[in-house]
Structure formats: structure tokens, C-alpha cells
């Protein structure tokens, strides 16, 4: 089955290259993801958009035909936590644009896509492995900034940005990075920030007249967090230890946040609460090492266990570091290993296609 997985017909349907063309992919096993696979199916694409999928699709004579006999056709894969186009070479500082300096470890106003390098040499090899869309996520601090969805099209920056922002990024599993000394202090700082956002919303005029108490972040960051406390923009919080996950759930309840959990090393221990709260989890299937005291119960079955409990699961890399940039192309191995550790095949494919498209608000066009 691995052979099959590796020989997926890697069909990159990018608006920029497919404009004014009609393409028919015929004879392959088509995984629409929204419904069961179609043996000997046809996918018809016109002007960059899928216009027909099925076993009996009329192919216009003018269409370019691609014979996929013996192959598999899937949606382009989505890798949902990456720094593709933000970090060219990890240890070359001048090619790193994923982390803002921020203010007091808060960088909510940071739009990470403003530093995207659309000429990145990482795009082509990532595409070549079937990944067509990536979420680029800021790093560091307590509130890292805003993420965007990028189609892997080299060109001008605006060509590739599918949607921005798609989420606010924050973390609660590293108190030092948050500029605090303990988890409790970190949570206090985060709650104070959200309180200040609400205060700012209610006292904007006073704020502009400098007639309010001092707030914990500059106006630009408070502004950026308004859609978060209004529950309009998702906030993805990195949390690993099970009590961190519960703390994030409590925060989301108290402030009406549209929460997603990333990391999620011990999320399987909170599967019922995550399911009840309808909180999606972005986690991997290739790490079972108790590599920190916050990840003692990290395991490869997490994705499968969460899915069984009814949690929306997005598979992302959680291995050695490069899975976010140079090896963002390897997202299919997370799916394969998730299957090896208990997830069903359709769920694993969904976790790298439609589910991320849904949670990041992209499912009208990709996934």
C-alpha cells in the first residue's frame, strides 16, 4: 500500500497554470473525500476549478486528457503548520521570517504572510509531493501572530495567498517564551490580555484620549485580537500536557474563543472534553517519545483515538523540526503512520485535505 501512496498522481491544480484550460483526469481511482472513492473515475477541470467528478463524466473533445489508470487521484494535500516560504534555511538567520519581536511577548498584530517569500525554493519540492496548500504559522512568544493559507504557486506574493488571516497563533506550553516563569503566570498574562481586549473594545474613545488605565498590549495588538474574542477568528493554542489542554478549554469557555489545539501530545487523555467542546486538534502520528515533561504521554495512536472520540483531527508534523519547512512535503507520511496506528484510511486522508480546509475556512475552494 505504501507503493500506492507514493505513486499518487500528483496533480497540482493551480489557478495560475490552469487558467483557460480544460483538463480531464481519467481512469484513476478518485478519492473525492466528501464521498466514497470512485473506481475508474474522471475529474474534469475547467479554468482551474473542478467542474465534474464521477464515473460517467462527459469529456469535451478539446480537453487535455491525463490517463491515471492504475493511479490514485486525491485533492491536493494541505499541511497546516508550516513555515514554508518564511524560513528558507533554518540556521541562516537572514532567511528566517517566522517570528516577530513583538511587545512583551505578544505579537497579535504580526501578519506572518507579509514576510512570505513567494520565490522560495521550498515550494516546488513540496508541490512535487502532492502538497498544494500550506498554512503558514508565526512562531514564538505568547501570542505569535496571525497565520495565512498559501497555495504553493511561485509568483507574486498576492498570487499565492488563499486566505489571510486564517487564525491567531498562541502557545501555553512554554512559560519562558511567553516571558513568564510559570504556567500559572502565563495563563494569568493571557487572561489579562483578553480582558484588556474587551476593555479596549468598550473604552476605545477613552483609550484614544489616553484616558484609560495602561493596557497589556499596544492598540495594534488589541485590535488584532478583537475578532478572536468575538469568536470570529479561530485561535490555535499550542498545548501538550493534558492540564494545559484543559486550561485552554477553560479559557475558550470563559472568553467564547473559537479554539483549536496544536501540539496535543497528551490530547488523547482529554478526548471526551475536546469532542464535547467541538475543538479541533492538530497533531501528528510519528512521535511517541516522552521528550519533555509536558509530553510524557505522547503516542502515535493519538490521532486515531481523538477521531474515534469524535474530535476533528488535522494531521501535522510533530517530529524532528524540519517537517514544518524543508520536509513540509512529508505530510503524507503522517497520514500513513496514523493509519498504521489505528486511524482509518478515509479519516487519515480527510485529516490532510478536507478537515484542514474546513477548520481554516477554505473548504469552498480546496480540500
Amino acid at each position: 500500500m505504501r507503493k500506492l501512496f507514493l505513486s499518487i498522481a500528483l496533480l497540482i491544480i493551480l489557478a495560475t497554470t490552469a487558467l483557460s484550460q480544460t483538463i480531464a483526469i481519467t481512469g484513476g481511482k478518485v478519492y473525492p473525500v466528501t464521498r466514497p472513492p470512485i473506481a475508474n473515475g474522471t475529474v474534469l477541470i475547467r479554468d482551474g476549478v473542478i467542474v465534474a467528478v464521477g464515473a460517467n463524466v462527459n469529456v469535451p473533445a478539446s480537453a487535455q486528457r491525463i490517463d491515471a489508470t492504475g493511479k490514485i487521484v486525491t485533492p491536493g494535500l494541505i499541511n497546516s503548520i508550516t513555515t514554508v516560504g518564511l524560513v528558507e534555511i533554518g540556521q541562516v538567520r537572514e532567511t528566517n521570517d517566522a517570528a516577530a519581536k513583538g511587545n512583551n511577548n505578544i505579537a497579535a498584530a504580526f501578519k506572518v504572510w507579509d514576510g512570505l517569500n513567494p520565490a522560495s525554493s521550498v515550494f516546488a519540492p513540496t508541490r512535487a509531493e502532492g502538497v498544494t496548500t500550506v498554512i503558514i504559522t508565526p512562531r514564538g512568544g505568547l501570542v505569535s501572530g496571525q497565520a495565512a493559507a498559501i497555495d504553493l504557486a511561485n509568483g507574486q506574493r498576492s498570487d499565492g495567498i488563499r486566505r489571510s488571516p486564517v487564525a491567531m497563533i498562541a502557545q501555553i506550553d512554554d512559560s519562558q517564551s511567553a516571558g513568564t516563569n510559570s504556567r500559572g503566570e502565563l495563563m494569568g498574562k493571557l487572561r489579562a490580555l483578553f480582558d484588556d481586549v474587551k476593555f479596549y473594545m468598550a473604552h476605545r474613545l477613552d483609550y484614544d484620549r489616553a484616558a484609560t488605565k495602561a493596557l497589556s498590549a499596544p492598540a495594534a495588538d488589541l485590535e488584532a485580537l478583537i475578532p478572536v474574542v468575538q469568536g470570529r477568528m479561530p485561535i490555535m493554542i499550542d498545548a501538550d500536557r493534558v492540564d494545559e489542554i484543559d486550561a485552554a478549554l477553560a479559557l475558550a469557555r470563559d472568553y467564547n474563543l473559537k479554539l483549536m489545539i496544536s501540539g496535543g501530545a497528551e490530547a488523547w487523555l482529554a478526548a471526551d472534553r475536546l469532542a464535547a467542546a467541538h475543538v479541533p486538534v492538530l497533531t501528528g502520528a510519528m512521535n511517541n517519545i516522552p521528550d519533555s515533561f509536558a509530553r510524557l504521554n505522547q503516542r502515535q495512536e493519538t490521532a486515531a483515538m481523538l477521531r474515534r472520540a469524535g474530535v476533528q483531527v488535522v494531521l501535522v508534523g510533530n517530529g524532528d523540526g524540519d517537517e514544518a519547512r524543508f520536509n513540509a512535503r512529508n505530510i503524507k507520511y503522517e497520514a500513513g503512520n496514523a493509519v498504521a496506528y489505528g486511524m482509518n484510511y478515509d479519516d487519515a486522508l480527510r485529516a490532510v485535505t478536507l478537515t484542514p480546509a474546513e477548520v481554516f475556512g477554505l473548504s469552498d475552494r480546496v480540500g
Binding site: L6, I89, G90, I289, D322, F326, A340
Partner: protein, 475 residues
């Protein structure tokens, strides 16, 4: 739940292992006195009064005669055997073929639909010297206090309770070389261990395995020592050469004294002792090096001082100098697809293994990662398919050698491990399916004929002391 009972059971299991290790024959006290006439050559060296001060105490775990039949055997010594049988007896592979009668005392395992391979060998590991959890208190992999630390031995950092050991075993790894890190030009001695539970590192050491010497090229040393030097690649090369000049003088002095025994022996120097043993051919050089041009320079340095490089590790640009590697008999230990994390790793290509292998250089996978070590079969599969995509017809029978036989050669152990051949150690993995499928997992792993891992029997799972009461039982 009965978790207490299970913890207790696990403790008993560990104690059972422990007592198994207890009755050791006292090691022959190889002459603490300086008057010993001529110490045997070998690890530790002829420039040392004690050639083997930290001897292996490893003893195989109890084993039963075992026959696995109706199984596909990837031998790494020749073509795969479909519907084959392999007999493990007294710690050795006793028979391999298509029809082997089951001895009366044998445990018989039906391997229908399954695969057997030799135990996986990882030539580049830091498990034990960079244990999990990765806290400063356990960070023992780089003696980054001097660019040349030939005097340190990785085994003195190895924590046998590292939870990463049992996970590597569950991935089919039976032997690994644990190396010092790459901060230094010359990082120190490696140690070759069997992936077995033990109270001590001595209890894991592969009996008779040669030591390795870790050397490192390029960015790491010059970055770590930017302030005091070396701070450039030319500084790196001057550093290696200065060390070998000292080592050569030391070797001559000791070799002369060993012949004459006149007067006091020369003063011992731990670092030079190790380097002298490299010059005598008793320690194998494992050289972390990414770039083609730097590897060519390291080959010239080896020729200048008359030592051999056994294998380059990482070898990201191996494909550019595969002919040089072949001509000099140097192994290429590579990743399937790591790259881009630093400047010298920027020219990574996925067909690297396929190309160095096709040109004739001794090619192998390696992990440098406690995660990668658990999936070296998947890494080889990636590299095999990448080779095919590049037009090189890599067969499974060839690719399996990247996983087992060629790493065994790099450690100088290819007469004992690395293939399924009669007389070799019974280090064997039974896979649920083709090991080059992402969906296949090791079901059972034997080391020296003893069943060390059985996925179907969680009660017998090797849990380290650190995990007891810390990591949940059902994880």
C-alpha cells in the same frame, strides 16, 4: 485498575533482567601493573596499560529454539526467499531455506503474509547520551569545551534508562552505534550497543565491537568555537592536522617503548591514546560531513596521516563524490530526505542513497534521531522509491542492505550481524508485512535468539525506570 500490579510486574521483569545480568565472571584484570609485557592490541590500545578498561558484560537473554516458517525472508545476503523458513537456535541462525523441519523443542511461528529481516543497525545514534526527556540535566552528548576531545568516550554518557531505547527496539533496531555529538572537530569515542535492557552500559556493549572515533566537518565546530577558534573551515582543517601530528608522535613513542620496555613508560594521554589507536587501525573513523568538497579534503587528511575513514555520516552531498567514496572504500551513511536546515545541508536530494549505491559506494541509512531510528525501514523505502523515480532501478533486495548489512560493515561487524545467514547472530525482526510499506510494523524482535520485543504481549514490554509511574502503562 490493576496498574499497581502491572507496575509491580514490570519491576519484576526488570529485576529478572537484572538478576540475569548479575553472575558475571570477573573480568580478567588485564594488568593494572605497568610491568605487563605486551598488552593485547584492540580497543583501548597498545599505548595503554589496560586495553579494555570498561569491558562488555553483555550476556544474551534466555532463548528458545524458534522456527519461523511460511514467511518472506529478506536476507540482505542475496535474493529474498518466498515461503521461507528460518531457524534460530542457541543464539545463532541455524538454518535458512524453503523447508526446514521443526526440531521437537522449537517454538514454531507461522509467518504467512509476513516478512523476516535481519535486525536493523543504526550507525548514528545519540540515544542514551541525549536521552528523553531532553532536559539540561541529561544533556550529555557534546563535550563542547574544546574542539578536540578525543579523550571522551560516549559510553560514559549513556543512560541505560533512556526511554528511547525500548522504542528503537520496537522499531526493529537491534544494534546501534552511539556517538558523541558534532560540536567538536574530534568528538571522542563511540560505543556499539545491543538494544537491550540493562542496569549498566557495560551490559549493553556489543562484545568484541571495535570503537569508533567521531569527527565532524564544517559548520558545527566553527560555529561552536567561533570565539576561541576554529572559526573557519580552514581553521577546522588546521585543527584536525595538529591533532594527528601529536597523535603520530605519541604512537611512535609508545610503539617504541612497547618493543624495548626500557625505562619508564611514556606518560599516558587519553586523547592521544585514542587517536594512536586510529592510526594503528584499531578504531574506525566515523566522520560527520555534509559537503562534497569537505569530504574530499578529509580524505586527503586521512591519506596524509595514514588512517582510514570508515564512513562519512550525513553525507548530504555524497552523490557528488560517489566515485571518490568508492575508490577510497569509504561508507556513505545518509538520510532519506533531511536537508535545508543549514547551509551545508542545502543540496540534499532524495536520490542520494540510490546514486551513491549505484556508483558503488557502500551505502546505508542512518538516523541521528530517536524518532527516525524507529522508522528506518520507512526511510529506506523513501530512498528506494526516490531512486526509482530518478531512473535507478533499486530492488528491495538491494535496499535491505542499506538497512542492515552495510551498516554492519561500517561497524566492522558484518561477520556477525546484518544478514540472515547460517552462523550469524540471531538478530531477527518479524514484520507484519513488507517492511517497505508504511503500514508494516515489527511484530517481534529477537537479539541473539532471545525474544526481546513482542507487540502482541504488552505485559512483557520493556519499560525503563524513568517511565515507571511517570508514563502511563497503556501508552
Amino acid at each position: 485498575m490493576n496498574s499497581t500490579i502491572r507496575i509491580f510486574a514490570s519491576v519484576c521483569l526488570l529485576l529478572a533482567f537484572a538478576t540475569q545480568m548479575l553472575p558475571q565472571t570477573p573480568q580478567k584484570d588485564s594488568a593494572k601493573s605497568d610491568s605487563t609485557p605486551s598488552p593485547p592490541p584492540g580497543p583501548g590500545g597498545t599505548s595503554s596499560p589496560n586495553a579494555n578498561p570498561f569491558p562488555s558484560t553483555y550476556k544474551p537473554f534466555p532463548s528458545r529454539t524458534t522456527l519461523i516458517r511460511n514467511v518472506t525472508i529478506m536476507t540482505a545476503a542475496g535474493p529474498s526467499i518466498a515461503n521461507g523458513s528460518v531457524l534460530l537456535r542457541d543464539g545463532k541462525i541455524a538454518a535458512v531455506g524453503t523447508s526446514i523441519a521443526a526440531p521437537a523443542d522449537a517454538v514454531v511461528i507461522d509467518g504467512t503474509g509476513k516478512y523476516v529481516t535481519p535486525g536493523i543497525i543504526d550507525v548514528h545514534s545519540h540515544i542514551g547520551d541525549y536521552p528523553a526527556p531532553g532536559v539540561d540535566a541529561n544533556s550529555d552528548g557534546n563535550e563542547a569545551t574544546n574542539p578536540v576531545t578525543a579523550n571522551v568516550w560516549a559510553e560514559h554518557s549513556v543512560w541505560p534508562q533512556d526511554p528511547q531505547f525500548p522504542r528503537a527496539l520496537a522499531g526493529g533496531v537491534t544494534t546501534m552505534q552511539i556517538l558523541p555529538g558534532s560540536a567538536n572537530l574530534i568528538g571522542g569515542r563511540s560505543v556499539v550497543v545491543k538494544v537491550v535492557p540493562s542496569r549498566t552500559v557495560q551490559g549493553m556493549k556489543f562484545p568484541g565491537a571495535k570503537y569508533g572515533l567521531k569527527m565532524a566537518c564544517g559548520e558545527n565546530p566553527k560555529r561552536v568555537y567561533a570565539q576561541r577558534g576554529p572559526s573557519t573551515r580552514m581553521g577546522n582543517v588546521a585543527g584536525y592536522r595538529a591533532a594527528w601530528i601529536q597523535a603520530e608522535a605519541y604512537r611512535r613513542k609508545w610503539d617504541a617503548w612497547n618493543l624495548s620496555h626500557k625505562g619508564d613508560p611514556p606518560t599516558r594521554d587519553l586523547g592521544l591514546e585514542t587517536l594512536a589507536e586510529v592510526l594503528r587501525g584499531n578504531i574506525l573513523v566515523h566522520n560527520h560531513c555534509y559537503r562534497a568538497d569537505e569530504m574530499a579534503q578529509m580524505i586527503d587528511i586521512a591519506n596524509e596521516f595514514g588512517y582510514k575513514i570508515r564512513a562519512f555520516h550525513h553525507t548530504v552531498e555524497g552523490y557528488k563524490i560517489a566515485d571518490l567514496l568508492k575508490a577510497n572504500g569509504i561508507g556513505a551513511a545518509e538520510w532519506a530526505d533531511w536537508g535545508g536546515f543549514k547551509m551545508e545541508a542545502n543540496d540534499s536530494i532524495k536520490a542520494n542513497l540510490a546514486i551513491t549505491d549505484a556508483v558503488g559506494a557502500r551505502t546505508m541509512i542512518h538516523s541521528d534521531s530517536a524518532l527516525g531510528a524507529q522508522r528506518l525501514n520507512q526511510e529506506v523505502a523513501k530512498a528506494m522509491y526516490a531512486g526509482r523515480a530518478a531512473g535507478i532501478n533499486v530492488t528491495e533486495d538491494q535496499a535491505i542492505k542499506w538497512l542492515t548489512f552495510n551498516p554492519a560493515w561500517a561497524l566492522g561487524l558484518d561477520d556477525k550481524i546484518g544478514s540472515i545467514e547460517v552462523g550469524k547472530n540471531a538478530d531477527v525482526v518479524l514484520w507484519s508485512g513488507n517492511p517497505f510499506s508504511i503500514y508494516s510494523k515489527p511484530e517481534r524482535v529477537w537479539i541473539d535468539g532471545a525474544l526481546m520485543f513482542d507487540r502482541s504481549d504488552p505485559k512483557e514490554k520493556w519499560r525503563t525506570d524513568f517511565e515507571l509511574g511517570t508514563v502511563k502503562e497503556d501508552n
